[in-house]
C-alpha cells in the first residue's frame, strides 16, 4: 500500500517536474496567440533563455542573475518577433522559425566560444541552481510553484481584466479594438513580451533547476509540445494546463515503461508514447475529437485601412 502511494506520489511529482516548462511556455504562448500573434518560436525563446540563464549563473554565481538573464534573453527574442510581426507586418510563422533556428545555432556558437565545452555551459553547483523548497524528493523549486500559479494568473488576466478583454478582442477582431480607440500594436507588443517572460522562466527552469547547466538543443521539442498543449486546450488556460500535465505524465511514464511489457498489450514502444502529444493534437486538428478554433485574427498582420 505504502509502496503504491510512494509510486503514485513520485510519478505525480515527476509529472509536475516535466510539465513545469511546458506549463510556463504554454501560458506565455497563450498570451501571444490570444492577441493574434502565432508563436512557433517558443522553442527558440526557451532555448535562448536556458543558455543565458545557465551561462550567467555560472559566471556570476548568482541564481537570480541567472534567472534574470534568461528572462532578458527570451524578451529580446520576443521583441524581435514583435518588431517583425507587429511593426513590419512580417509573416509570423517565418519569424518564429527564424528565431528557433537562430537560437539553435547561437547558443552553441556562443557556448563554444565562451566555455569551450562543445556548446555546454560549465556544470552549476548547488548554490547556483534553483533548489527544492519543501520536499527534496519532489524537487519542488520555486519555478514549479511559479508554473502552478501562472495558470490561475493567466486565466484571471485574460478573463477578468481590462487587458485580457482587449487581448481577446484583438485576437478575434482587431478592427473592433481599433474602432474603440485602443492601439492594436501596443496591445500585441505587451502580449508578446508577456510570452517572453514566461518562456524565459521556462528556459531558466530547464538549465538551472531540471538540469545543472545548459546542453545543446536541451529544449528537445518542448516548445512545440507546449504549442500542442495550447491547441489541445483550445486556447484556454486550464485545459491547456491539463494538456501539459497529460503530456508530462506521458513523458514520465515513457521513461518508466522502457522495456516493460504491459499485460495484454505487450511492449509499448516508447516512441509511440513520445509521439502521442503530437498525434493527439493532430487528431484534434483534423476534427476527430472536438474542434479547436484558433483566435480568428491569428497570423494576420493588422493594417489600418487608411
Amino acid at each position: 500500500m505504502e509502496e503504491t502511494l510512494t509510486f503514485v506520489t513520485l510519478t505525480l511529482a515527476a509529472t509536475l517536474r516535466v510539465a513545469t516548462p511546458l506549463v510556463l511556455c504554454a501560458m506565455g504562448g497563450l498570451f501571444s496567440e490570444k492577441s493574434g500573434i502565432i508563436d512557433v518560436g517558443l522553442e527558440g525563446k526557451m532555448l535562448m533563455a536556458a543558455f543565458f540563464a545557465a551561462a550567467t549563473a555560472s559566471l556570476t554565481g548568482s541564481i537570480w542573475a541567472g534567472v534574470g538573464a534568461g528572462i532578458v534573453a527570451a524578451e529580446v527574442m520576443a521583441l524581435l518577433h514583435g518588431v517583425a510581426c507587429i511593426t513590419y507586418r512580417g509573416n509570423q510563422v517565418v519569424s518564429g522559425i527564424a528565431l528557433n533556428i537562430l537560437a539553435a545555432g547561437l547558443t552553441v556558437v556562443l557556448g563554444t566560444a565562451w566555455f569551450a565545452r562543445g556548446g555546454q555551459t560549465p556544470p552549476l553547483g548547488d548554490s547556483e541552481r534553483l533548489m527544492p523548497i519543501f520536499f527534496p524528493v519532489a524537487r519542488d523549486n520555486i519555478l514549479v510553484y511559479a508554473a502552478l500559479l501562472s495558470v490561475p494568473f493567466t486565466w484571471w488576466a485574460i478573463a477578468r481584466t481590462r487587458f485580457g478583454l482587449r487581448l481577446r478582442a484583438v485576437g478575434e477582431m482587431p478592427l473592433a479594438v481599433d474602432g474603440a480607440g485602443v492601439s492594436v500594436g501596443w496591445l500585441r507588443y505587451r502580449a508578446v513580451l508577456l510570452c517572453g517572460l514566461f518562456a524565459g522562466l521556462a528556459g531558466a527552469y530547464l538549465s538551472m533547476a531540471q538540469n545543472a547547466g545548459f546542453s545543446r538543443d536541451m529544449t528537445a521539442g518542448q516548445g512545440f509540445i507546449a504549442l500542442a498543449a495550447i491547441i489541445f486546450g483550445k486556447w484556454r488556460p486550464f485545459p491547456a494546463f491539463g494538456a501539459c500535465l497529460i503530456f508530462g505524465l506521458l513523458d514520465a511514464v515513457a521513461i518508466r515503461l522502457q522495456g516493460v511489457s504491459v499485460p495484454g498489450v505487450g511492449e509499448v514502444p516508447v516512441q509511440l508514447i513520445q509521439a502521442l502529444p503530437y498525434l493527439l493534437t493532430l487528431f484534434l486538428l483534423a476534427g476527430f475529437i472536438g474542434n479547436a478554433v484558433a483566435p480568428k485574427a491569428a497570423g494576420i498582420p493588422y493594417e489600418k485601412e487608411h
Binding site: 477578468r160 481584466t161 481590462r162 478583454l165 478582442a169 479594438v177
Partner: protein, 509 residues
C-alpha cells in the same frame, strides 16, 4: 439651408472637399443637421455619401473644409475625436467581436478600470437602462455570434449610446435587415429622436427615408444636389434627383436578334451556411443575340447570381440550363466546364477575381483558358503562343501599354478591364456574363467596351450584364431585370425603361 433647420445645428459641415488620387469624391459640400432630427442622406453608389460621413467620423481627413459640432469648430483626426464629441457611427459591416457577449462588446474600450468586474456591473445597469429607454432590449450575456443580424445591429447602436453619443450615423443600416427588422430599427430611431439624439441615415432606399426621416439630403457625384423636407417630396422626385438627368451614351444599335435560348434558370436559389437566402427563386432566360441587363443596388444578390451562373457556386435549389447542359444541386458544375460549354465570364471585381496582380499581362490573358490550345498542348504551355495571343488581344482592344511582359498590376483599371474583356470575348463565347463592365474605367474606354459588347451581341452572343450604373444598363440592354433582396422584382423592355421607373423598382424593395 438654415431655414430648413430649426434651432442650432448639431452638426455643420462647411465646404468639405476630398479626393482620392484622381477621384474627386466629395466636392465642396456644406450641410447642417438639426439637433434631435433624423436626416436621410441618399445617393447612388459612389455619390460620396459614405466618404462624407467617414470624414465627419474622423476615418478620413478632408482636403478642405470645416466641421462644426454644436457650433464649435473641431478637428476630427480620428474616430476617438469623433467619439469625444459625441458622434457615434454604426457601420454597414459590424465591428463586433463574435465570440464575445453583448456586454463584453459593449464595454470594449470603455471598461471603466483595469479590472472588469466593476465596470461590467455598471455597464450591465446602463445597458438595462438604455434598453428600457429606447426599446433596445438585448440579452447582455448572449454571445454575439448567436444573435440575429438585427440584434447585432442593436448591439452596435447600444455601443455607440453607451459611449454617450448624442449624434448617430448609420451607414446603410437596412441593407442587412429583413423588412420586420427594419421596422424595428425605425421604431428605435424614432425613440432616439424623441430623446434628442441626432440621427443621420445613409441609404439609397427611398421608401425607407420617406418613412423615417424628417429631411432628405440628396448627393450626386460628390455634391449635394438637393435638400427636402420629407413632407414636401415623394420617392419619384427623389429618384430623379438621385440619378439625375444623364445623357444616354448614344449607341447605334439595332434591334436584338433574340435567337434560341442559351441560358435558362428556373427557381434558382442560394442559401448560405448561416441560412441567409442570397438568391430567391430566380427565373431567367437569356437568348442568343440579346443583351439582358440586371439593375439593382449592389448587395442585392447580383454577385451571387453571377457566381452561380458561372459555376463558381452551386445553387442550393432550382435548375439551370446552359447551352444544353443541366445544372442543379445534384449535378453541379465547375467554372472550367462552363467555359468548355461556351460560357465566358467577366467578373465584377477584376482585381480579386479577374486577374492575378503579380502575373505578367500575357499570363493574365489566358486565366481560365490555361489548358486550351493554342496556348497549351498536353499541359505544356507554349510561351511564345501565349505572348502572341496577348499581343493580339492588346492590339484588338487597344490595351495600353502594349506590353505582354508587364505585370498586370501595372496597367490602369481601364486597361486591365479591356484585357479581361478581350480574353473572355476572344474565344467567341455563346454566353457572356459581364459584371460591372466599366467600373473604374475612363470615358473613352467605356465607349469602346460598350461598342464591343454590342458587336458581340450582333454576332449572336447571349450577354448578361450586371451593373450598378443605370445609365449603362439603359444604353446597352435590350431587356432590363431589376434585382432586390435576392429576387428579380421586375422586368422592363429597353424602350420602356427609364431611370425613374428603374430607380423606383430598385428602391422600393
Amino acid at each position: 439651408m438654415q431655414s430648413l433647420t430649426a434651432g442650432a445645428a448639431a452638426i455643420e459641415l462647411r465646404d468639405i472637399d476630398k479626393s482620392f488620387g484622381a477621384v474627386h469624391a466629395v466636392r465642396g459640400v456644406s450641410l447642417a443637421v438639426a439637433r434631435g432630427s433624423i436626416t436621410g442622406l441618399v445617393g447612388e453608389n459612389g455619390a460620396g455619401k459614405s466618404t462624407l460621413m467617414s470624414i465627419l467620423y474622423g476615418l478620413y481627413r478632408a482636403d478642405a473644409g470645416q466641421i462644426l459640432i454644436e457650433g464649435q469648430a473641431v478637428d476630427m483626426a480620428s474616430p476617438r475625436d469623433a467619439i469625444a464629441h459625441g458622434i457615434g457611427m454604426v457601420h454597414q459591416h459590424f465591428m463586433l467581436v463574435d465570440t464575445f457577449t453583448v456586454l463584453e462588446n459593449l464595454v470594449l474600450g470603455a471598461e471603466g478600470g483595469p479590472l472588469l468586474a466593476r465596470g461590467m456591473a455598471a455597464a450591465r445597469a446602463e445597458l438595462m437602462r438604455l434598453g428600457r429607454e429606447y426599446g433596445l432590449s438585448v440579452d447582455p450575456d448572449a454571445r454575439v455570434a448567436d444573435l440575429s443580424v438585427g440584434e447585432q445591429q442593436r448591439v452596435e447602436i447600444l455601443k455607440v449610446l453607451f459611449r454617450g453619443a448624442r449624434m448617430l450615423i448609420l451607414d446603410e443600416p437596412s441593407a442587412v435587415l429583413t423588412p420586420q427588422e427594419t421596422d424595428r430599427l425605425f421604431e428605435i430611431l424614432r425613440a432616439l429622436r424623441e430623446r434628442g439624439v441626432t440621427v443621420v441615415l445613409i441609404t439609397h432606399k427611398l421608401r425607407e427615408v420617406m418613412a423615417v426621416a424628417d429631411r432628405v439630403v440628396v448627393m450626386r457625384q460628390g455634391e449635394v444636389v438637393a435638400e427636402r423636407r420629407t413632407v414636401d417630396t415623394n420617392t419619384d422626385e427623389l429618384a430623379e434627383l438621385m440619378v439625375g438627368r444623364k445623357v444616354r451614351l448614344d449607341l447605334d444599335k439595332g434591334p436584338p436578334l433574340q435567337g434560341e435560348s442559351m441560358l435558362t434558370a428556373r427557381g434558382l436559389s442560394l442559401v448560405d451556411r448561416r441560412g441567409v437566402r442570397l438568391l430567391d427563386s430566380i427565373d431567367l432566360d437569356l437568348r442568343a443575340g440579346e443583351i439582358v441587363g440586371i439593375a439593382g443596388v449592389s448587395g442585392n444578390g447580383q454577385t451571387e447570381l453571377l457566381q452561380v451562373l458561372a459555376g463558381i457556386r452551386a445553387p442550393t435549389a432550382g435548375r439551370l440550363e446552359v447551352c444544353g447542359r443541366a445544372v442543379d444541386p445534384d449535378h453541379p458544375i465547375d467554372p472550367a466546364e462552363m467555359r468548355e460549354l461556351g460560357l465566358a465570364h467577366v467578373p465584377e471585381d477584376r482585381l480579386r477575381q479577374g486577374l492575378v496582380a503579380a502575373f505578367e499581362a500575357s499570363e493574365t490573358s489566358i486565366l481560365g483558358y490555361q489548358d486550351q490550345p493554342p496556348y497549351c498542348r498536353n499541359h505544356l504551355l507554349d510561351a511564345p503562343a501565349v505572348g502572341r495571343h496577348c499581343a493580339e488581344l492588346m492590339r484588338r482592344f487597344d490595351v495600353r501599354p502594349q506590353a505582354p511582359g508587364l505585370r498586370s498590376s501595372h496597367f490602369s483599371g481601364g486597361n486591365q478591364q479591356k484585357l479581361i474583356l478581350a480574353r473572355e470575348m476572344s474565344r467567341l463565347p455563346k454566353v457572356l456574363l459581364v459584371g460591372q463592365p466599366t467600373r473604374g474605367v475612363d470615358i473613352g474606354a467605356i465607349e469602346f467596351i460598350h461598342r464591343e459588347l454590342v458587336k458581340s451581341r450582333d454576332a449572336g452572343c447571349a450577354i448578361l450584364i450586371v451593373s450598378v450604373e443605370l445609365e449603362e444598363i439603359l444604353s446597352l440592354a435590350d431587356r432590363v431585370l431589376v434585382m432586390s433582396g435576392g429576387r428579380i422584382v421586375g422586368e422592363v423592355s429597353a424602350d420602356q425603361a427609364d431611370e425613374r421607373t428603374l430607380g423606383r423598382m430598385m428602391a422600393d424593395a
